[in-house]
């Protein structure tokens, strides 16, 4: 699995406009709605589901990274977006640090394997400090897309 398999390039956000956890999630889900990747009529339900998952424990997994996610029956394939916040969002992360990089994932209920594969791919790429640093410095959706493409071409990571 590669970023191109699940990250929607039309929904990339180079600068989240908010610093609040719930608003950040809403902005990312909205971006996927606007890109036509999720049904806009399901916006509130998806946001609610992502927030409910966060209540079980923050997906702020440390090192300035969060992977907010949920299952939702309105999607047929795993779909996701990447968002960057240069100022950082308080996400109640494991290490107490603000989050600069977000990978939001929405999975069909019957495809847990794809979710695990996506997490593995994201984690594998983010272990490369250069990839992380460049992604945090992204100034445009095009910058993000270029970095994702380079990662998919094995230009980062072990």
């Amino acid at each position: 699995m590669k970023f191109a398999d699940f990250i929607c390039r039309e929904a990339l956000l180079a600068e989240l406009s908010v610093q609040d956890k719930e608003k950040a999630i809403r902005e990312m889900v909205q971006s996927l709605c606007q890109a036509g990747k999720v049904d806009a009529a399901q916006f509130d339900d998806i946001v609610k589901a992502v927030l409910k998952r966060e209540e079980l424990g923050s997906t702020g997994i440390g090192r300035g990274v969060a992977v907010p996610h949920t299952k939702h029956s309105s999607v047929e394939h795993l779909v996701g977006t990447v968002a960057v916040s240069s100022r950082g969002v308080d996400f109640a992360s494991l290490d107490g640090e603000v989050v600069h990089l977000f990978f939001l994932l929405i999975s069909p209920p019957d495809r847990p394997g794809d979710h695990l594969r996506a997490l593995e791919y994201i984690a594998r790429q983010l272990r490369d400090d250069t990839f992380c640093r460049f992604l945090k410095q992204a100034k445009s959706p095009q910058d993000i897309q270029q970095l994702l493409d380079e990662a998919d071409s094995n230009q980062f990571g072990p």
Binding site: G113, L116, I122
Partner: protein
Amino acid sequence: MADSTVTRTVVVTDPVGLHARTAVGIAEVVRRSQSTVTLIKDERRAAGTDVLQMLALYVPPGQSVRLEADGPDAAAVLDALESVFAGDFGDPAQEIA
């Protein structure tokens, strides 16, 4: 008491595999302990404090992971981690890891 290394093999029974919340749960236990914990799968190693490293191990349901703990509370921390792997987070069926 001298530090000692303790190892244990656990099978991931969660239907999603070793997912984000399990990894965070492991990291929380290890960070509270006085021991160093490493997860090992197929010769690949992940620090028990590092969620990204653990997710990058990629452990689907049914596969096993070796836990290696080194420190004054090594056995106790592995006991606690076994409970995390047992994975009863009280999830509603709808939730994803």
